[in-house]
Amino acid sequence: MGGAVTQPVLALNGVSRSFGPIEVLHGVDIALHPGRVHALIGENGAGKSTTMKIMAGYQPASSGTIAVDGQTRTLASMGEAEALGISMIHQEFNLAEQLSVEQNIFLGRELKRGWLLDKAAMRAKTRELLDRLQCDVSPDRIVSTLSNSDKQMVEIAKALLRDIRVLIMDEPTAVLTRTETDILLGQVRRLRAEGVAVLFTSHKLDEVAEIADDLTIMRDGAVVWTGPTAQMNEHQMAEAMVGREVSDLYPPKDGTPGEMMLEVSDFGVPGYSEGISFTLRRGEILGVAGLIGSGRTETFEGLAGLRRAEGQVRIKGQPVTIRHPWEALQHGLAYLTEDRKTRGLLLDKGMGENLTLLALWKFTRGLLDKRAEAAALETAIADFDIRGSQAVAVGQLSGGNQQKLLFAKTMLADPEIVVIDEPTRGIDIGTKQQMYQFIRQLAASGRAIVVISSEMQEVIGLADRILVLRRGQLTGTLDGAEATEDAIVRLAMGVGAATPEKETV
């Protein structure tokens, strides 16, 4: 690939950034070269997103300089950065939910014929961009009805529309499946060939190893390593990020199944799934695999009373009907959503208020016991290693730390049956390991656990048994031993058939 001797198209020199009294970036140096892909990795809260926002002009640096084409500049606004050809895809979705796909992609740069919009041209262009990403949603779909991965594709299409020299992507693959990731990486290669400088972050180190030419590793707001990716293997990357040895990611499956906790038969959520039966015992971790759109989320949301569902459910042998989420909780069943931003956390509230929302009754002794709440927060921060200032709204926390907080919030309610949907989305590898251990401990302490995950490795590594869903139907149950990626994929896609990986819904 192109030599690193070219002048960097965009560089940060000694950039620091403070929020109030807290400095989160300490003298960061990073340089992007045209025609090269640069990966930025680090733990949750290391300052990756902040660095990227400064590079894209969304936030000012507190000190230090930004150089574009070797010239020091102040990027006063993202408009200015955009004019220089710098475009960014945010970690959190940055789409107007009530607008259509096409309206979002062209927002702020609508094509016009005279005064009026040239809708035909915009729709055609949208189609073309989405086709390039092999995404088949209609340009007229309202964004709020899209799946997370489709939203991500729309974000990418939006960035591709711009005339870019620098593309900055903050965890673009967190919500994508492997196939979609491959499509994205294909686009990245194409851009690289066109001479675009690409900066991206990911907690999936295999992707980093696969595509990045250059690598920068951050820890606690400072750069700890930078150089060509080829000099590092995945293991070394993980170590440099976390600052310690990361050995076995998954804890041993040493649980002994106990009493029957959950029996589900002929269960389904109309329109999404039907005829699903399974059982779950204390101490067991049940993995649920399937392609995005296979109805896993909806099925378990149905189980948790968040959607209308049909079928028989028994908890500890007793038949129950759960029509509302609080009824689920009364039966000891909690569901941890995959969508932390719009369903998981109150982004404009503090950590404390979010943490205790689900389990508020535990803190009610007539009135709320605020001291107990504060103590619970301290415990949660320690247990889950949540990093970030307690004074700010949780919307300002780094994505991974939000996920940890969501985890802590659900666990605070002491559920006996926990359904965890995409537990490690956007979580760094060190914390992942902690989380897996934590989930195993929960099982060992007699909880029954369901883990829904799109990461095949995670399901295989963590679960005692695996359910595979396809188009809302249960296509198979695999035991820990026989679970291989291949077996899951076969079930998930319909054996041997060359079905596209993404289900059309």
Partner: protein, 327 residues
């Protein structure tokens, strides 16, 4: 996905709902009185819808962009008062004729722009909630017109009024001017909302102003523009209103703001912003006007209960529209 599967149907219902309510009302009216569908009555209803209608079109943009304006009724009164005052003052020097009417119209439009600018700047520059700003200006303009009129009524000189009256009562091919102007405003509004960048930006801001800002939309400017546009439309409505009654007082335009907002929401625009529909607003306005008209056609309810019937029908119209929305 069923969420997606029901989505189109839900939109359908919210599209058809207000239309259905309107049709029901028309059938009801026709059954109650044979004159209801006479051109005379239709023309009356449409003309009087025009004031609120023109304002409500502007309100649709303000609400779509996540704003609100409580001051339209009193600013209409204020603009009417100002217009009358200016025209009466200019009368001795200018005499009755087209120029003085044009002067009056210019005053109304300029005052409308000013009113919109003041509201808009306070909201966008100082970042005060639209509710408070426009509640404040509502009080201010209402007081100002009372003060201008010295507690009484400001009246357009009678000769001037006779000259100016055709602007309300006259028309082309039997269609009166207010109806024509209303139609033009609606068509332009619909185009603006659906087929220009401005309309999209309004919806984007109302949906999520942060996102709009990140997409290089000039949020403050678009917001300001919605208020100015509303101000201008209030001016336009006033231009039609003054020749009808030839006067302005403290009770002019009372509660127009509630009516305009209600029309917008009955028409299917969301109060939270992010989604607006100009033609829906027209349906909303017609529903509201027709209720009053139909109550005048019959007298089997005590006039004291008119308000109750109106309230009930407004709620029913919206129930029709959202009937299949889950709790």
């Amino acid at each position: 996905m069923s969420a997606t599967a029901t989505q189109p149907r839900k939109i359908q219902m919210s599209v058809i709902g207000p239309v259905l309510a309107l049709i029901l009302l028309i059938i009801l009216g026709a059954l109650m009185n044979p004159n209801f569908l006479g051109w005379n009555n239709i023309s009356n209803v449409l003309s009087r819808s025009a004031f609120i209608g023109i304002i409500a079109v502007g309100m649709t943009f303000v609400i779509t962009a996540g704003g609100l304006d409580l001051s339209v009724g009193s600013s209409a009164a204020f603009i009417a008062g100002l217009m009358i005052l200016v025209m009466n003052t200019a009368l001795p020097s200018m005499g009755v004729g087209v120029p003085i009417v044009l002067l009056g119209m210019a005053v109304a439009l300029v005052a409308g722009v000013a009113v919109g600018l003041i509201n808009g700047l306070l909201i966008t520059k100082l970042g005060i909630e639209a509710f408070i700003v426009t509640l404040g200006s509502m009080g201010i303009y209402r007081s100002l017109v009372t003060w201008l009129a010295d507690g009484g009524t400001l009246s357009l000189d009678f000769s001037l009024r006779s000259f100016y009256q055709p602007v309300y009562y006259g028309g082309v091919f039997g269609v009166s001017w207010p109806i024509i102007v209303f139609a033009v405003v609606v068509v332009l509004g619909e185009i603006l909302m659906r087929s220009t960048a401005f309309g999209r930006h309004c919806a984007a801001i109302g949906s999520n102003d942060q996102v709009a800002r990140y997409s290089s939309v000039r949020v403050a400017r678009v917001r300001l523009a919605t208020y100015v546009m509303l101000g201008v439309l209030v001016g336009v409505a006033t231009i039609m209103y003054v020749p009808r009654l030839g006067s302005a007082s403290a009770s002019t335009g009372l509660l127009w703001e509630l009516e305009a907002i209600a029309a917008v929401i009955v028409g299917g625009t969301m109060l939270k912003g992010g989604f607006g529909r100009v033609w829906g607003t027209v349906i909303g306005v017609l529903i509201l006007t027709l209720i009053g008209n139909i109550l005048n056609l019959t007298d089997f309810v005590s006039p004291y209960l008119n308000g109750a019937i109106q309230g009930a029908i407004i709620v029913l119209a919206v129930v029709l529209q959202r009937a299949n929305k889950p709790a």
